[in-house]
C-alpha cells in the first residue's frame, strides 16, 4: 500500500525500512491472511458521541475485566472445599481453630500469599464497583429514554446482566465460608425453605442435605468461576454488538438528527480515550483496594451456625432483598392444612420478584402505552419525559427504602434512634415515599419545562435594569444563542392516544386501558415552543 501512495520517496534498499517498518509489514501480513482491515475500517470509523454519562457502561466493562484478572489470580490459591482443617497460618487470633479448607485458603491468600490480600481486595472492590456502575448506567438509560425502539432488547440483556452480576457477587461473597457469608447463606436457605411444597426439597438439593452441609462451597465455586462468568461474557458481547448495530444514542443538539451520530471516531480518538480510561478505572480500584479493608474474613472467623455478628449485612447490591425481609412484619405465619405459610418471607419474595419483572419489561410497557413505533436515537432530557422521570423516581425511592432497611441497625446506632423507629418509618416510607417522589418529580419536570419555554421565548434575565427616555424601567432580557435554544425547543411532545374502534367496530377493554394509561402519561404536558411562537416573541424585542 505504501509503495503505491509514496512512490516518489527515495527508498533505501534495506528491506525492513522499505515499507514503513515492522508495523506495516506485520499488519500487512495479518491483513492478507485475515482480511481484518475491513473490520478495522468499519469499526474504526464508528462514531461515539461524547458525554460523561455514556462512559458508565464502560466503567462496568472495565470493572469486569479487573474482576476477571484478579479472580484468576485468586483461583490459583483458593480451595473450594469444606473439608475440615486446623488453621496453621500466620494470623495469630485464628491459630489452631477448626475451619473449612475454603476459609483456611482464604486466610492464606490474605496473609501468606504475596500480594494475595491486595488481589482479594481488588477483586471485591471491583465487584462492588461493577454492580454499582451497572446500576448507574441503567439509570442513565432509563431517564434518557435510551431503551426505546430499537433498543428494548438490549435493555433486557443489560438488566439480565445486572441480575447475573448480583448472582456473581453473592456466590463470591459466600465462597470464603466465613461467619458473614455463612449467615448470608442461612438467610437464602431460610427463604428457600419458606416456599411452600418445594422449599425444603430445593434447599436439600442446593446444600446436598441439611444446611450447611459439605457441598455448597464447591457448588457455588463452579457457578462463580465457570457458569456465571461464561454467561456474562456472552451477554456482554451481545450487548456491545447491539450497541454497534444500533449505533450510539446522542443528546439533541444542532446538527444532530435521528439519522446521524455526531462525535469522535473510535480510531484514533475514542480508542485512545477509552484505553486510557481503562487504566484510570483500574487505578482507582487499585488505590481503594490498597488503602481500605474490605470483607476482613479474619475478623469474622470460620462459619459456625451458632454465632451471628451484629451488623451482619449482605454486600450493597443484595441489600434491597435483605431490606424487604427486615420490613416485612414478623408475625405473618399462617397455618393451613397442617402447613405453615410464612408470608413474612413469601410476600417480600413476591414484591421483589414483581419489582424486578416490572423493571425488566418496562420498555415494552411504555412502548405499548405511548403507541410509539418509531426509532429513537436522540435521547430525551429527563424533564421532557415528565411521567417517565416520575415513574423512575418512584422506583428509585422504592429501591432506596428497601436498601436503607438493610442497614436499619447501623442507622439506629449511628443516628441514636430506636431500631423499631427506623423500621416503622421505613415501612411507611416504602408506600408513601414512591408516591411523594412521583409527584415531586413530575411537578419539578413540568416546572423545568415551563422555565425552558420562557427562556426560549424571552431569553435570560440579565439583571440589567434600564431606564427608558420616557421614565419607564425595564429589565433587559438577553436572548439565548441558537445552539442553546435548540436544546430548549428540540424535543417532541406526545398527546394522549384517542380511543378508536378496531376493524370490527368495537372498542376493546385493552384499548380503553391503553387510552387511560396514555392519558395518565401525557395529560399534563407543556408543549414545546413552536416556530410561530418564537418568531412572534422576537418581534416583541
Amino acid at each position: 500500500m505504501n509503495t503505491v501512495t509514496a512512490p516518489a520517496e527515495p527508498t533505501t534498499p534495506t528491506p525492513t525500512k522499505k515499507s514503513g517498518g515492522f508495523t506495516a509489514t506485520a499488519s500487512n501480513y495479518i491483513d492478507e491472511r485475515t482480511s481484518i482491515s475491513t473490520a478495522v475500517k468499519e469499526l474504526g470509523r464508528k462514531i461515539f458521541p461524547d458525554h460523561w454519562s455514556f462512559l458508565l457502561g464502560e466503567v462496568a466493562l472495565y470493572s469486569f475485566v479487573i474482576i476477571l484478572l484478579s479472580g484468576t489470580f485468586l483461583t490459583f490459591f483458593f480451595q473450594a472445599s469444606m473439608a475440615e482443617v486446623h488453621y496453621e497460618g500466620s494470623y495469630v487470633p485464628l491459630k489452631g481453630i477448626e475451619m473449612s479448607a475454603a476459609m483456611a485458603s482464604t486466610l492464606d491468600i490474605s496473609f501468606d500469599v504475596r500480594g494475595g490480600l491486595l488481589m482479594r481486595q481488588v477483586h471485591h472492590w471491583a465487584a462492588l464497583l461493577f454492580v454499582a456502575s451497572i446500576g448507574l448506567h441503567m439509570l442513565r438509560i432509563f431517564f434518557t429514554g435510551a431503551f426505546r425502539k430499537p433498543r428494548e432488547l438490549n435493555w433486557v440483556i443489560g438488566f439480565v446482566l445486572f441480575i447475573l452480576a448480583m448472582a456473581e457477587g453473592f456466590t463470591g461473597y459466600s465462597l470464603p465460608d466465613d461467619l458473614l457469608s455463612g449467615n448470608g447463606l442461612r438467610i437464602i436457605d431460610g427463604m428457600v425453605k419458606g416456599i411452600p411444597v418445594i422449599g425444603t426439597w430445593t434447599s436439600f438439593l442446593l446444600f446436598g442435605g441439611e444446611f450447611p452441609g459439605t457441598d455448597i462451597v464447591g457448588r457455588l465455586y463452579s457457578l462463580h468461576i465457570l457458569l456465571l462468568p461464561a454467561i456474562i461474557l456472552v451477554l456482554i458481547a451481545l450487548h456491545l454488538l447491539f450497541v454497534v448495530v444500533h449505533k450510539h444514542t446522542q443528546f439533541s443538539g444542532p446538527g444532530r438528527t435521528q439519522q446521524n451520530v455526531v462525535g469522535y471516531p473510535i480510531l484514533p480518538v475514542y480508542a485512545a480515550k477509552a484505553g486510557g480510561f481503562f487504566f484510570i478505572v483500574f487505578g482507582v480500584v487499585m488505590l481503594i483496594a490498597s488503602l481500605f479493608t474490605i470483607n476482613p474474613v479474619w475478623n469474622y472467623g470460620p462459619y459456625d451456625p451458632s454465632p451471628v455478628s451484629a451488623g451482619t449485612q449482605p454486600d450493597w447490591y443484595i441489600g434491597f432483598a435483605d431490606g424487604v425481609l427486615r420490613l416485612a412484619p414478623s408475625n405473618w405465619d399462617i397455618v393451613l392444612f397442617d402447613h405453615t405459610f410464612s408470608f413474612g418471607i413469601l410476600i417480600p419474595l413476591a414484591v421483589v420478584g414483581l419489582f424486578i419483572v416490572l423493571v425488566l419489561i418496562y420498555p415494552f410497557i411504555e412502548g405499548w402505552i405511548t403507541g410509539d413505533k418509531r426509532e429513537h436515537h436522540i435521547l430525551d432530557r429527563p424533564r421532557n419525559a415528565a411521567t417517565r422521570t416520575a415513574i423512575g423516581s418512584a422506583g428509585v425511592t422504592f429501591y432506596a427504602v428497601l436498601w436503607a432497611a438493610a442497614s436499619s441497625d447501623i442507622i439506629a446506632t449511628h443516628f441514636k434512634v430506636t431500631m423499631e423507629g427506623v423500621i416503622h418509618t421505613l415501612q411507611v416510607l416504602l408506600f408513601v415515599g414512591p408516591v411523594l417522589a412521583y409527584f415531586i418529580a413530575k411537578r419539578t419536570c413540568l416546572a423545568l419545562q415551563k422555565k425552558d419555554r420562557s427562556i426560549a421565548l424571552h431569553g435570560y434575565e440579565s439583571g440589567r435594569i434600564v431606564r427608558l427616555p420616557g421614565g419607564e424601567y425595564i429589565e433587559v432580557h438577553e436572548p439565548v444563542d441558537e445552539y442553546e435554544r435548540w436544546n430548549l425547543v428540540g424535543h417532541e411532545s406526545y398527546q394522549p392516544l384517542m380511543i378508536r374502534p378496531n376493524s370490527r367496530g368495537r372498542i376493546t377493554v385493552a384499548q380503553r386501558t391503553r387510552a387511560a394509561l396514555s392519558r395518565w402519561f401525557f395529560e399534563d404536558r407543556i408543549d414545546p415552543v413552536t416556530q410561530g411562537e418564537l418568531e412572534s416573541s422576537h418581534d416583541h424585542h
Binding site: 472492590w125 464497583l129 458473614l180 482507582v284 481503594i288 474490605i294 459456625d304 451458632s306 454486600d315 423499631e420
Partner: protein, 271 residues
C-alpha cells in the same frame, strides 16, 4: 479462691499515692473488718475477685459520696427506688464499671446510660465501690493478672464470636438492640471494665458468670480484644469495621463518585 491480696499489684494501680506501710496497715484493718464476713458469704461467682481493700475511713467516704450523688435514685440504704434498681449485692465491680466509665451518675433517663466523662476520681470511685461492697457481697474488682492481655488470643476470639459478637459485632464495633438500646463499641475500653461488664452484666448485657466463662476464658476474651485493638487491620483503613454497609456506602460515594468525576473530566470539551 485467690484471697491473698497482692500489694504490688494494688500499688501499681494506685500509682504510689500511699506508702507501702500504709497499704499494709489498710490491708490489716480491711481484712479485720470484712474478711470474715466475705469468706462466709462468698459464692462461686466471687471466685475471681480480689478482696477489696477496705478501710473504715474509705468506706465512710464512699458512703458520704454515695449519699450525696447516688442515693436520690438508688435509695439511702442501696435499696433502690422506682427510678433505679437496688444496689444490694451488685459488688464493687458494678460500681467500678458504672462510675468508672462515666455511665453513672446518669444524666437523664433514657433507654440506656451512655458513656460520659468520668465524674469522680479513682479514689472516690474505689471508696464508693468499697462502701457498696461492704453492705453485701458481690463480684469484686478483678485481679491484675486477669487483665494483662497475655491470654490465648485464638481461644478468646472464638469465645468472643460465640458469646459477644451478636450484639457487639465481630470486630467489637458495637451494634443495635431493641427500643433504642445498643451494645457499645469495645475499642478503647479498659480491660478491667470489660471484665467487670462480663461479671456484672450492666444495663442490657447478660451476666457471664464464672461457670459460663471461667476467669481464664474472660482473660482470653480481653486478650483477643486488645490484640485487635493493638494490631491495625492488614487490609488498610477499616471504615469503622461496620461490614458491608460501610463498604457499600464508601464505594458509592468515593469509588463511583471519583469515577464519575473522572468521566466528566475525560469528556470535557477543551473550549
Amino acid at each position: 479462691m485467690p484471697k491473698t491480696p497482692s500489694p504490688t499489684a494494688r500499688k501499681s494501680r494506685k500509682q504510689g499515692r500511699r506508702s507501702p506501710l500504709a497499704t499494709i496497715s489498710l490491708l490489716a484493718v480491711g481484712l479485720l473488718f470484712t474478711g470474715g464476713a466475705f469468706a462466709a458469704f462468698s459464692t462461686s461467682t466471687a471466685s475471681a475477685e480480689t478482696p477489696a481493700v477496705v478501710s473504715a475511713a474509705s468506706v465512710e467516704d464512699g458512703k458520704k459520696l454515695f449519699q450525696a450523688n447516688c442515693a436520690s435514685c438508688h435509695g439511702l440504704d442501696l435499696e433502690g427506688t422506682e427510678d433505679a434498681p437496688s444496689l444490694i449485692g451488685v459488688g464493687a465491680a458494678a460500681v467500678d464499671f458504672q462510675v468508672g466509665t462515666g455511665r453513672m451518675p446518669m444524666q437523664a433517663h433514657g433507654p440506656q446510660a451512655p458513656v460520659k466523662p468520668v465524674q469522680f476520681t479513682d479514689d472516690q470511685i474505689k471508696s464508693m465501690a468499697e462502701y457498696v461492697a461492704t453492705t453485701a457481697p458481690g463480684p469484686g474488682i478483678p485481679d491484675e493478672s486477669l487483665l494483662d492481655g497475655e491470654g490465648d488470643v485464638a481461644n478468646g476470639a472464638e469465645l468472643f464470636r460465640i458469646n459477644c459478637a451478636m450484639c457487639h459485632n465481630v470486630a467489637g464495633a458495637g451494634g443495635a438492640l431493641t427500643e433504642g438500646k445498643y451494645a457499645p463499641a469495645l475499642t478503647g475500653v479498659a480491660p478491667e471494665h470489660i471484665y467487670e461488664a462480663m461479671v456484672t452484666g450492666p444495663q442490657n448485657m447478660p451476666v457471664f458468670s464464672d461457670a459460663n466463662l471461667s476467669p481464664e476464658e474472660k482473660r482470653d476474651v480481653i486478650s483477643a480484644l486488645k490484640f485487635m485493638e493493638a494490631n491495625p487491620s492488614p487490609g488498610g483503613h477499616t471504615l469503622g469495621s461496620l461490614g458491608p454497609v460501610a463498604e457499600g456506602l464508601f464505594l458509592w460515594i468515593f469509588g463511583l463518585g471519583s469515577i464519575v468525576a473522572l468521566t466528566v473530566w475525560i469528556t470535557a470539551r477543551s473550549n
